[in-house]
Structure formats: C-alpha cells, structure tokens
C-alpha cells in the first residue's frame, strides 16, 4: 500500500475542500492516522473505498474516543534579568485544550489485501456540536458500531439510516462512556470496600465501618 503522505496528497486533489492532517502515534507500533474534518468526511470515505489503488472496501472497526477539556502544561525556558545577570528561567505555560469527541474507523481492503488505514473525525465540542457524517452508506457494516458510539458517547451521525440506542434502553439519559458521566448512586454495603467504592461507603456511612472481628477462642 502507498504511504500515508501519498494518500493524503491524492485525497487533497480529489477532494479539494477537505482539511486533512496526519496524526502521529506515540505507541510502539506507531500506527499513524488520517484526521479529516467532518464536512468532507463522507467524500473522503467514498474516495478511499472507490479509488482503484486503495479499494478500502472493508471497515473492520469503528470506535469512539472522548477527549475532555484538558489543561496542557508546557515548560518553556525564558531569559530573565535577575540581579543584573541574565539567566534562563523555566516557566510553565498553561493552555486549555477544548474537549471534543472522536470517531475512529479502521479500513482494510479485501480485494487488494492491504490495510489498515485509520481514519479519524472529530466533533466541534462535547456539548452541542456533536454532529458527524455517518459513513454507513459507504460501509454498511458500520451501522451498529455507529449506533453504539451514539449510544455511549453521544456522537450524532447525520444521514444514519437508523440512529437509535443499541445497548442501553431508549429511556436512558446520558452517555455512560464519557469521562464525566456520573453513575446513579445505588451504593450497596460491601464488607471490604476499596478505592472509589470505599469513598462511596464513607459517604453513605459517615461513621467508620470496621470489619467484623471474631473473638479469639481460647483452647
């Protein structure tokens, strides 16, 4: 298969309006991915499937990622004049990265036996602009997985044929796989609580709960 840079260059000529970026990956495998803006996502997907050299006809996996708002801290060396001497001082520069929801498609070619090409799309934010184009018309197998992402992350896929909740019931509110989802507080007493369960136990039982100690039996 051709290099990702080559695919990107050909995509840019085929879909001129597309904003495409190659995302690096820090992990050991270093699988890089194509980041596409939502507006041209559908055209890009069609190109990837129909192009004679790529023929990415199989979408093996669709998944969602939640990126909450995060304060990024960066250390910068700044030159300052201290007591008449010029010194290099480290300063921490903080920037706020606005959160967004991300959808990741893993694409393979069955006919040309190559892949994967990783395609990513991001929403504007996590609150009200969570629309992305559905790629179900391109890859039919994405239907249930897009429904699952809608169910658990709240990404709204435009032009999806049947966008309903798939795992949770229809009356359910909220998106449980988001990092800030608050679970219903139905704590039940546990004899050996730990971690978050211990915190919940302390909240429900303000007095310290001690485990039962059996009296020693003297022989």
């Amino acid at each position: 298969m051709e290099a990702l840079e080559q695919i990107k260059a050909r995509l840019e000529t085929a879909v001129p309006s597309a904003k495409i970026e190659i995302l690096a990956n820090d992990c050991a495998l270093g699988e890089r991915s194509l980041l596409v803006d939502g507006a041209s996502g559908f055209a890009v997907a069609q190109f990837l499937r129909d192009d004679a050299q790529l023929k990415l006809d199989y979408c093996s996996n669709v998944t969602g990622v939640d990126w909450p708002d995060k304060e990024l801290a960066e250390k910068i060396k700044v030159k300052q004049v201290v007591d008449g001497m010029e010194k290099e001082v480290e300063e921490v520069k903080k920037t706020l990265r606005h959160g967004y929801l991300e959808v990741v498609y893993h694409l393979y070619s069955m006919s040309l036996k190559h892949g994967p090409v990783v395609l990513r799309m991001r929403t504007e934010n996590r609150a009200d602009q969570t629309h992305l184009p559905s790629l179900t018309p391109v890859w039919r197998g994405a239907e249930f997985q897009e429904r699952e992402i809608y169910d658990l992350y709240g990404v709204i896929f435009d032009s999806h044929p049947d966008l309903r909740r798939i795992l949770m019931w229809d009356e359910f509110e909220g998106f449980p796989m988001r990092r800030d989802y608050v679970e219903p507080d139905d704590f039940e007493y546990e004899p050996t609580p730990h971690d978050e369960v211990l915190d919940a136990a302390k909240k429900h039982y303000p007095v310290e709960v001690k485990p039962e100690v059996k009296p020693e039996v003297k022989a």
Partner: protein, 219 residues
C-alpha cells in the same frame, strides 16, 4: 394390619409413623408403601424441565452440563424447553443487564406453577465483577425468588448438577398441606412478580421491596 397397609388416605404424619423396617420388609414381598406426598414429590423432583435460556458465559457451562460428558439427563432435567409455558425451572445463567431484567421477570411470570429459580454464577447472584457498573443488575434476587444460588465464575457443570440435586432435595421435602405448603398449592400467595420499568438511569423500582431489602450493617 391389613387395614393399615391399604389405608389410601394415609397422611404424611401417619406415614412417618410406619416403621422403616416394616416398609422394607413389605417391599421385599412386593408391597410398596408410600404416601401421596412422597409419590407426588418424587415425580416432580425427577422431571424438572429447565427453560432454554442463557445470558452469558454461564450458559456455555449449562450447555456442557446437559451434554454427554456431564449428562444432566441422569437427574431428569435434560429437556430444555424453548417455551416458558412448558418449563418448571429457570436457570438464570449469566449477567443480567438492566435492559434484560424486565424480560427475565416477564419470562418467569409466564411460567406455570410450580416454578423454581436457580441463580447461576457470580453475576446472577450479585452482579459479580460488574457490580459497580451502571448497566448490570446487582443480583436477580432483587426481582425474583431464588431457590438455589451457585457461586462461581462461571460455575463448573458439576456445580450446576449439585444445584439441581439441591433443588430436588428441596422439592422432595415440600409439604402438600399445612400452612407452610409451597406457593403453587396456596392460592393466597401471588405467583407473579411486578415487572420493573426502564427509568432514566436505573430500573424503577430498583428492587422488589417485598422480596429484597438492602442489607443493614451490624454495628
């Protein structure tokens, strides 16, 4: 003597008074002495038909138990019925999600009396490893009267066989008359259980208060 042997209206109390030695002596001569209760329970205990019904990996062990290696047929429980109308026993084999719980209760309500429930595996008993999650019911005993609980994750087929034997023991010891007779012989006790509704975050009600109450701490 003859009067006692041919007393067809022998009550269990009178029957218990008959000497074991006399019974075995009579049996050797081809006279079988029994009570209606014992005969009735013997028949019921040896033809417990479970519902074909599995929810997760425990169902695989349940299938294994019914196959030739473990051969559940030895206990008269090999006829897995595909309809709740023909089943006597519900083996809740696996994780009961909150989405599935109302359907499980409805299936139980559709079974004719007498009916029994085996909670198979850690999930069916308490929610198991998913107890702290948002989508798994913390034990089917919140909505259904469980007769036998099998611990394990998943329990071995031997454990299921043991549970069936325990249930058979329970059936054999049930009295047909008197105040502590089982539910199917007591018209005053309701055999149907309320089906919970889907709420915004949890089932409503979260448990059947007549059946199950949150455990109180001993201080």
């Amino acid at each position: 003597m003859a009067e006692r042997v041919f007393d067809l209206a022998l009550t269990p109390e009178k029957f218990a008074m008959i000497d074991e030695g006399l019974k075995s002596e009579l049996q050797k001569q081809g006279v079988y002495v029994t009570s209606l209760q014992e005969l009735y329970n013997w028949g019921r205990a040896n033809s417990v038909w479970p519902l074909t019904f599995g929810l997760a990996c425990c169902a695989i062990e349940m299938m294994a138990a019914s196959m030739s290696r473990f051969d559940l047929a030895r206990f008269g429980a090999e006829v897995f019925r595909p309809s709740p109308r023909q089943a006597d026993l519900m083996i809740v084999a696996g994780t009961v999600t909150k989405k599935m719980a109302p359907l499980v209760v409805r299936l139980y309500n559709q079974m004719p009396e007498p009916k029994y429930v085996i909670a198979m595996g850690a999930c069916a008993i308490s929610g198991g490893p998913f107890k702290q999650g948002y989508n798994v019911l913390k034990g089917i005993d919140r909505y259904l009267p469980v007769d036998v609980a099998i611990p394990g994750c998943p329990p071995r087929p031997e454990a299921l066989i043991h549970a069936i034997m325990t249930l058979q023991e329970k059936i054999r010891n049930q009295k047909l008359t008197g105040p502590d007779r089982p539910r199917h012989l007591n018209a005053e006790i309701e055999g149907e259980y309320p089906v919970p509704a889907y709420g915004k975050h949890d089932l409503e009600p979260p448990n059947n208060p007549g059946l199950w109450q949150p455990p109180a701490i001993q201080r």
